[in-house]
């Protein structure tokens, strides 16, 4: 990326592009960053990926029709992430799914201060989550932690929505089974009082 001088010779962005970018892109920054963090599992890489996505989005903003900005941005991010991974690891050219394999564990990024309600239940959920395979953990992160819809998660991972649903449901079932193994399934269900 190149920084332009902000003085007289800087060709100003069109007012429409600036307005569209501020309307459609900036409000999605937090979701973009959370998603980037899930994809890269590294804060610095996540920031770089968001910046790359912002630049690509701005170049394309005048062709964007204004519908589903999040899905549009996540598709851009997915492509940017694949390109970044290919530059780092040319051997991954034929298997972009492997670009998502990272070693950092969820438990390492979540401190005990985050466990605010029913710590035994939460600790067991966290343990079970950490034991999930990367594919399963990733969909749980995207949907349950980052709040993406199934289709949005499918778009960013480049898999069918049925795959997201299958992985997500099986992942939660494993967490649920882990709770049952520790006697926390029925007893813990009631105190928290989550409502439908």
């Amino acid at each position: 990326m190149t920084e332009r001088p902000t003085e007289v010779d800087s060709p100003a962005a069109s007012a429409d592009a600036t307005e569209a970018f501020n309307r459609y892109v900036i409000p999605e920054l937090e979701v973009m960053y959370r998603t980037a963090r899930s994809l890269t599992r590294n804060q610095t890489d996540a920031e770089d990926l968001v910046q790359d996505t912002l630049l690509r989005a701005f170049r394309a903003i005048e062709r964007f029709d204004g519908r589903y900005p999040r899905a549009w941005l996540l598709t851009i991010m997915r492509n940017a992430n694949i390109n970044r991974a290919r530059k780092k690891r040319p051997d991954l050219l034929d298997d972009p799914d492997l670009t998502f394999e990272r070693s950092v564990d969820f438990a390492e990024t979540t401190g005990p201060e985050e466990l605010v309600v029913d710590p035994t239940f939460d600790a067991s959920v966290t343990d079970a989550f950490a034991e999930l395979s990367t594919d399963f953990r990733q969909v749980v992160e995207l949907v349950d932690l980052n709040g993406l819809a199934y289709q949005e998660a499918a778009d960013i991972l480049g898999v069918p929505v049925g795959t997201v649903m299958s992985r997500l449901h099986r992942a939660r079932k494993r967490i649920r089974d882990h709770l049952a193994e520790h006697g926390l399934d029925s007893a813990a269900a009631l105190p928290r009082g989550a409502t439908r």
């Binding site: 592009a17 170049r59 969820f106 199934y150 269900a189 928290r192």
Partner: protein, 88 residues
């Protein structure tokens, strides 16, 4: 093995288990959501199972790793500079 299926809201317990997670995620159609809600109102077993999954979802979202506001602000400033054509 279940000897009989409880029918509530036009769905059996097995039917509800099939779609429960999608229902909790708001990913079912309106008619299915209505039937599931009706079943859960009348079926203690399925309602308890639903509560377990809801608590798992709440627990996971509670454990969401916090975002450093400085990082988010820095990205916002970067985005604003991009929008003004100062970085390309």
């Amino acid at each position: 093995m279940k000897l009989f299926k409880k029918m509530r809201g036009g769905l059996s317990c097995d039917d509800v288990m099939e779609v429960l997670q999608s229902y909790l995620d708001g990913e079912t159609d309106t008619e299915t959501a209505r039937k599931v809600a009706s079943h859960l109102d009348e079926c203690t077993d399925c309602d308890l199972e639903s509560s377990v999954y809801q608590n798992i979802r709440v627990s996971l979202s509670t454990n969401k790793a916090p975002i450093d506001p400085v990082v988010l602000d820095s990205l916002r400033q970067f985005g604003e500079r991009v929008s003004r054509g100062e970085i390309d």
